[in-house]
């Protein structure tokens, strides 16, 4: 089986939209309902967050969705069960995103195998150290044809970005500023421009997706002008109320890409 993410970037290299949401939020069984609605609405790929009790890289919106999802009973076991029939319903690439401790307790090897089995294409674990990935887990990712996606920020050195590029497959997740999720971008435009120029000059092998703080059409387009696409998380999660409505999800995506 080909990695859908890598295939996607081969076929489309600009204005890609990825949407993040938390599995099991607002209701435990909403995971696939939301994924389906996002695909129909035109999202190019999806990031499904598995919740953690102590999400240090997340702002209030995703802290809240994670908390509610855990209260609802979401766990990696439950999530993989929900994703059993994923590929009968959804064809866009799927990435799982979450913190390292639940993955360690589940077992990294088993996590990779189960992710691949249900049709997941990539994984983002922001607090998994690069050295540990390289030494201990890379083989499990590669054996299962899973992309491991790394984050970079304006403070990441050229040397480190090159190393990340070397270890990445799929894409590199570029934060437009060092930030927790859902923050309004507070950096000066000139700073951001300098950073994106630096990234361009590095001539990286992997595509770039920009994330954190993208919340509307304007910020989406701006991000797309410096990268292959952009990722929306908190701004989408915020629109989810207690009852998921496909029409509202479509409306939201349309407001970004149309």
């Amino acid at each position: 089986m080909n990695n859908r993410l890598i295939e996607l970037f081969k076929n489309k290299n600009k204005d890609l939209l990825s949407v993040y949401f938390t599995a099991g939020y607002p209701q435990l069984t909403d995971t696939l309902v939301i994924a389906k609605a996002l695909e129909e609405a035109g999202a190019d790929f999806l990031e499904i967050g598995f919740p953690y009790s102590d999400p240090v890289a997340d702002g209030p919106t995703i802290q809240h969705s994670s908390h509610v999802a855990l209260e609802n009973g979401m766990s990696l076991k439950v999530l993989f069960k929900q994703l059993e029939n994923l590929r009968r319903q959804i064809s866009v690439p799927i990435i799982l995103m979450g913190y390292v401790n639940p993955v360690l307790q589940y077992g990294v090897e088993k996590f990779c195998a189960d992710a691949a089995r249900v049709g997941v294409d990539g994984v983002i674990v922001p607090d998994l150290p690069m050295y540990e990935y390289e030494e201990l887990y890379r083989e499990h990712f590669e054996n299962n044809n899973l992309s491991n996606i790394f984050l970079i920020t304006p403070q990441s050195s050229d040397e480190r970005i090159r190393k990340i590029d070397e270890l990445s497959s799929g894409f590199i997740y570029a934060l437009s500023s060092s930030s927790t999720t859902g923050n309004k971008l507070a950096v000066e435009a000139s700073q951001t421009e300098k950073y994106f120029e630096r990234l361009k000059s590095l001539k990286l092998n992997n595509p770039l997706m920009i994330g954190f703080g993208i919340n509307d059409k304007n910020s989406f387009q701006k991000a797309c002008s410096s990268a292959n696409g952009a990722i929306i998380g908190s701004a989408f999660v915020k629109t989810l109320s207690s009852k998921v409505e496909g029409a509202k999800i479509k409306q939201f995506v349309a407001s970004i890409i149309e």
């Binding site: 855990l70 766990s75 401790n101 360690l104 307790q105 920020t153 934060l175």
Partner: protein, 398 residues
Amino acid sequence: MNKTAINYYVDERGYFGDFGGAYIPEMLYPNVEELRQNYLSIINDPAFQQEFRELLKDYVGRETPLFHAKRLSAHYGTTIYLKREDLNHTGAHKVNNTIGQILLAEKLGKKRIIAETGAGQHGVATATVCALRGLECVVYMGEIDIKRQAPNVARMKMLGAKVVPATSGSKTLKDATNEAMRDWINNPVDTHYIIGSVVGPHPYPDMVARFQSVISAEIKKQLKEKTGSELPDYVMACVGGGSNAMGTFYHFLEDESVQLIAAEAAGLGVDSGKSAATTILGQEGVLHGSRSILMQTEDGQVVEPHSISAGLDYPGIGPQHAHLFKTGRGKYVAVTDDEAMQAAHLLTRLEGIIPAIESSHALAYLEKMTFRGDEKLVVCLSGRGDKDLQTYMDYFNL
């Protein structure tokens, strides 16, 4: 395994045996890496050492006494010394670390200081050194701890710090730590995070242990003066994240004849569901940037701890402690809320010292030990009880 071959200190990769490392998102990497690359050369610089020692002496009031607690000793039928960290400026051991880290932050050119606090002792110690050096200070504190440690909140405010309530999760130390980490992520250039215990990503556990190691360095010297030998039979301390305990153990780690006893908070009892006895209830995992032992569900979600003492109300322990526990070098014991309160009362009445509830956990373990009569024990009295008066008043109907 050959026991003498075990390395109890940090290795060049930032690990203590199986524990430690730096499990952090990329947003924290540049700051943590800057610290990792510079902390040893800064700390080992003679000028830094001199300034650090001078401040510990003239500002903090070190060295702290090693007090032969004669009536407590008679009560238990052995010889007990108290290492009086409660007599430090600001009332606890925490200031040893904040003095070290503020000097280091200055060397790194940082302008803004953030910290987490549980009991408020670390927050006060941080706000104090920020006032001393004229740096901006923001302290994160769980909403519940803000209520139960009101005097320390007032002190921090008077010292000019901004106290920000952490309102997520159990609203205690763990959540305050999360908030401080988020602040650091959002302020990646000018800010230094003064972590208050031997937790967090490498190099924090090692760095904080080095700053706190002054405790055991002094104990050795003082014990030698008082008894002719620098080695006691036991050194004992309470463990929240484990900084006073690591400071107390540090220079004894390779003296295998010295038993290291670390008292964790059992809360209402280890089986009560309201406990913070990490080594008994926890498993290996990752919390706040390091691999250690933590209280968690099967699914890897962190369990909310409970202790009557805000400073021990934490679901993990530092990675070096996890290593001492796993190798058997340290003995980790659990002490309940009630046992700690009784021990506080006993010390107060026998020696005229009102201890912090945290420190009382170490004292309480004396009840469970049996003595021949000729042992020498050193108990770290990590802090004074002023901040806990309300809790004591409520508990003892004072």
